[in-house]
């Protein structure tokens, strides 16, 4: 069981969601985040004044998947979120030790 954490462009969330659905993954958590990777943002100018836009708005998608679906899920995310330009984002895969369903308290293996 793995946690896939993907940082993507805000406008790509719907595409990623659709792509994950196609590999039979429907549950996910989406969070509005700001940050930068290699893209590092840039300095914008408004009315003659520079202002820092180094922290760029991104969306973070978290999805927990069975080990056997990890590769499909990562591939689906990458294909859906890619534009080929700097700033497309990152995908992290993190091991998950245990999972519990809050409603019933029972342990769940997805």
């Amino acid at each position: 069981m793995k946690l896939i954490k993907a940082i993507v462009r805000p406008n790509k969330v719907d595409d990623v969601k659709e792509a994950l659905g196609r590999v039979s993954l429907s549950g996910m958590t989406v969070t509005e985040v700001r940050g930068h990777g290699k893209q590092k943002g840039h300095t914008a100018i408004y009315r003659g004044k520079e202002y820092d836009v180094s922290l760029l708005p991104k969306m973070e998608i978290e999805v927990v998947v069975p080990d056997e679906l990890v590769d499909d899920a990562v591939a689906a995310i990458i294909q859906a979120a890619r534009t080929g330009e700097i700033g497309d984002g990152r995908v992290f895969v993190i091991p998950v030790e245990q999972s519990y369903r809050i409603r019933t308290g029972e342990r769940s293996d997805l």
């Binding site: 462009r9 509005e32 100018i45 004044k49 708005p57």
Partner: protein, 829 residues
Amino acid sequence: MSTSIVGVETAREELSAAAAHGQGGRAALQRFSDSIDDLLKRLFADAPAATSSLIVALGGYGRRQLCLQSDVDVLLLFDGPIGPAEEGRVRAILHPLWDLRFSVGHQIRQMDDFAELEIDNPEFLLALLDARAVAGDAALLDRIAARVSTPAAHARILDALKRLIGERHARFNDTFYQLEPDIKDAPGALRDLWAARTIAAMTDPALLDRGPTDSPRLGDAEEFLLRLRSILHLEHKRNNNVLSHEIQERAAERMGYTGAPRQQVERLMGDYFRHARAVSRSLRWVRQNAPVPVAANLVQSRDGVRFVDADRARTHPERWLSLFQAALDAGTSVADESLTWIQQRVDRYRPEEFFPTSAEQTALLMFLRPRAGLYERLSEMHDCGLLGQMFPEFQAIFCRVVRDFYHKYTVDEHTLLTIRGLERLATRAVKGRERFSTLLNDLAHPELLVLSLLFHDVGKWRDEHHADESVRMAMEMMERVQMPEESRALVEFLIRHHTKMSLLAFRRDTEDPEIVRQLADLVGIEERLKMLCLLTLVDIEAVSPGTLTPWREELLWRLYVDTYNRLTLEYADERIEHDESGLQALVAGRPDDVTDAEIARFAEGMPRRYLRLFPYVEIYRHVRLSRDIRPDDVHANLERKDSLWELTVVTLDKPFLFSNICGALSSFSMDIARGHAMTNPNGLVLDVFQFTDQERFLELNATGKDQLLTILDAVISGATAVTERLRAREQSVLHRRRPGVTSTPPVIHADNQSSRRYTILDLVADNALGLLHRVSRVISQHGCDVDLVLISTEGQKAIDVFHITKAGTKLSDAAIAGLTTDLHHMLEA
């Protein structure tokens, strides 16, 4: 006339006889007053002819309560200058009165005297409240009454009345328990009674009956006091109103009190104090509870603003909006009483009846300017049914429920909440949103944004394509209220595209220049971009409390900034081509006196935004101004536009041109707020400046416009040195920086990347007289040509964008460095 004189003498004798028996009350005094009326009518009829005139009864005579020894207060009013004929008429009226031993308090005035109210003569203003036309042209009095019947005049009169009451009471040590009371002036006596009635009449006629002494009870007090006063005039044989110890016994007897003389006096004085207490309490109540007049037929009291005269309100539904405007102005609510009154009647009126003329349309737009309280007032209008009756389109979404995952409120409330969001931006009530507040403050017509918000979702009464339906319904409304064409186009644009910016900001890649280009093409000019951005912000915020996150705000802001930069920095490269669709539309709609060739010669090669910036009717005027223009010719037009003046100049380009035009305006202390300067490839220059006339030069001088245009011509032709004219102005004490006013360091940013043709100078500095002139002069001194300029202000900051070239090309880095250094030196000096 002798009959009338006999009539007066008879009436005087009858009043004396009535007074002797304690019967000189209201009815007797009225009969006496009427006899004077008859005499004056006769004297007026017999007097020599003169200009239209009127005899007006004032004070106690005006109230028909003339006592035996009272002054006969009259105003002789003439509708024109007073010459020998009028003086003859005055003598023919006044001399017989003096012969009859009347003490006459007379004033002789011509109507022009009332052009300005005599605020330093409150006694006269008060006397006018009891004015009554006796003989002559009564319309003259109606004209004066119209001038006195304004909220401002009423407020002054009330202030004066309250001050006079205070001074009078002080003379009696502020108590009505006087052993020898003055029946006219003492606290609780006749003047207090009249004052209570006057205050109630001017503010709320029903006020007296809600107080501790109702009208019949006050009537009893008045009758008692008038009878006593008649006795005093009879006994004293002069205008003396003091009920002295020696008079009290005789007065008690005449009033019919029984018992021993001492008992009679005690009963008399007991009754007097009872009446005086009632009058005193009534006056105190009225003074404490009288509402304040705030507009015609409107007063403000503790429960809010309400109508004074409901009958008047009933016949004038077009004035109902003023009720809410007055509440907005006063920072209070509309009284429940008036809201209920409207609710019970509003469905009797058709929408057109609320906006019969352009004055009501103007009032509507004034009302919709975003400010504290607008949401509350609109909600009141909605709750009492007025909003829906004025705008049936809005009624269509009354309590409309649209089920989706996001919206938490009914469509009507969502709509009103968007306006609350805008109101909070206007008042800078939301921390962290100052950048959006600044955009709102920049808008020339924020009321049109509110109007757009009010109608942006009315199409949701049906389930699909709500934006198109909202546009259709809004257009119907704007046709009904006769909105100007330009405003209609803007509102239509905002409603039609109200979801566009949200779609681009949150569903598209805003890093993609193509997305920014799309939005820039859609909006065309900065004003529309700002409005659409604000509309989007408050529309999202009003969906539910958590919808507008800081993250979304940031995305929206970045899209705004990128689009703004594209509009202001990159527009110069996009020129109007011969086959431009906008140009073809301009040609197709041309008036007969403008030819295709003229339009093409003028507009081709101008920045494409020119077609978005001005309505076609304005562009045709520009074309006309460009006719037959030769070097050194200046074709200009100066006119008032709302609160600003607008100067349009068409001329041929030359060095220092822009600097000189700005200098000429500043030399008249004109504060340039907005403007555009454009040049076409033929060297034809169009400069449009909107400015405020700080010293009211144009307003106060009949030839002011001509003077300004003459100086402009002289400055551009080089006949007059503008720097000299301006220096004197700049040294004026009116324009010195005041101590304690902080200045912000100027910002100058040079951009050689955004445009293919131009170096762009972005300049932000404290606004000051002659700033544009000085900046552009430095630019010209560096041998640069000013081809395009955008001028704007944000509060006290001037924000200007210059597109410049040197010898037809962009500036080198060295040239930019030299220019910006000199600009910094000049701005910081």
